[in-house]
Amino acid sequence: MIASLRTMTYEELKNTLGKDERIAIWSCDTCAKSCDGFGGEESMKSLASQLRSDGFNVQKEELLVASCYFDGIRNRKEKWVSDGEYDEIDVIIPLACQEARVAMEKLLPDKRIIDDSRTAGLGMLDKNGVCILTDPFEWTGLDASDEGIDLKSAAKKLGMFTGPFQYDE
């Protein structure tokens, strides 16, 4: 599974958004959800609620089973178009991996897509449901091993975050 880290806090995310922008939150329900709940339905709804209460215009919440499927993104875009909603969105906050964001940038080139995650490498979900990074990318400076490193520890070493956006980070 993909081990995804969050690159910004909620405050930093807010600073990238304008109050006049129409926002969609796009959340992945597979790996990103397993990365301490960065993605998934709960984190999507929580972020939407936080942003709305802070005066931002969250127009859409999209939950995809897996955002690394090009066809899934394409199908969702086509639905937005057919429903007349596509032009109602200015910016997308992906709660998904970096690779999903690359796919989204190809298929939704006229939308601003927030760069809020980095893929640290590949890992596994252990018996406790914790994502363990076992094969980090070279840029992380971390070592590959069967034991791996839990995502929270990896995030701390890399100056990043795990899990959903939170008010009080």
Binding site: E99, T119, L122, M124, D126, D135
Partner: protein, 155 residues
């Protein structure tokens, strides 16, 4: 979810096996299946080829996602299995190393990095490569033009 892998040449795999040992094949049905380096069809082909070449394949099993340790809970290996041949990405290999610590674990694949699956290209596109595979970015695995697991055309 999409790790991108390609198959190690068959001859290299059999060079790492001997005909006296019992072999279990475990094949991942997720990302590796999209790259045709895992899944049921690749597993069946591997099993047939090994048996035809005189190797002792004791059991073959497909599991949904080899990077989730609990997915191994229902995999019970017979006592005469000495070696597990993992048809998965490196995450599945790591998981097997943990689960079957008393067996020799080998892989049929090399993992190139992470990407996304595009059905119109009938494969997975490499986005984030591991070291040594930077020149494969944008290529599609498997190569639909010749059916090999080597990367196909750039996007």
């Amino acid at each position: 979810m999409v790790s991108v892998s390609r198959a190690i040449p068959y001859q290299e795999i059999v060079n790492n096996l001997n005909k006296e040992e019992g072999v279990a094949i475990i094949s991942c049905n997720a990302c590796a299946n999209y790259c045709r380096t895992g899944g049921r069809r690749a597993m069946t082909n591997m099993s047939s080829d090994l048996e035809a070449d005189g190797f002792n394949v004791v059991i073959s099993k497909v599991i949904p996602k080899a990077c989730i340790l609990t997915n191994f809970d229902n995999v019970s290996l017979p006592d005469d299995v000495d070696t597990v041949l993992m048809m998965a990405c490196v995450s599945g290999l790591r998981a097997a190393n943990r689960v079957f610590s008393d067996k020799r674990i080998i892989s049929s694949n090399e993992t190139l990095g992470i990407g996304y699956y595009d059905s119109s290209k009938r494969g997975s596109v490499l986005v984030s490569p591991y070291s040594g595979y930077q020149d494969k970015v944008g290529k599609v695995f498997p190569n639909r033009n010749n059916g090999s697991s080597e990367g196909g055309e750039n996007e």
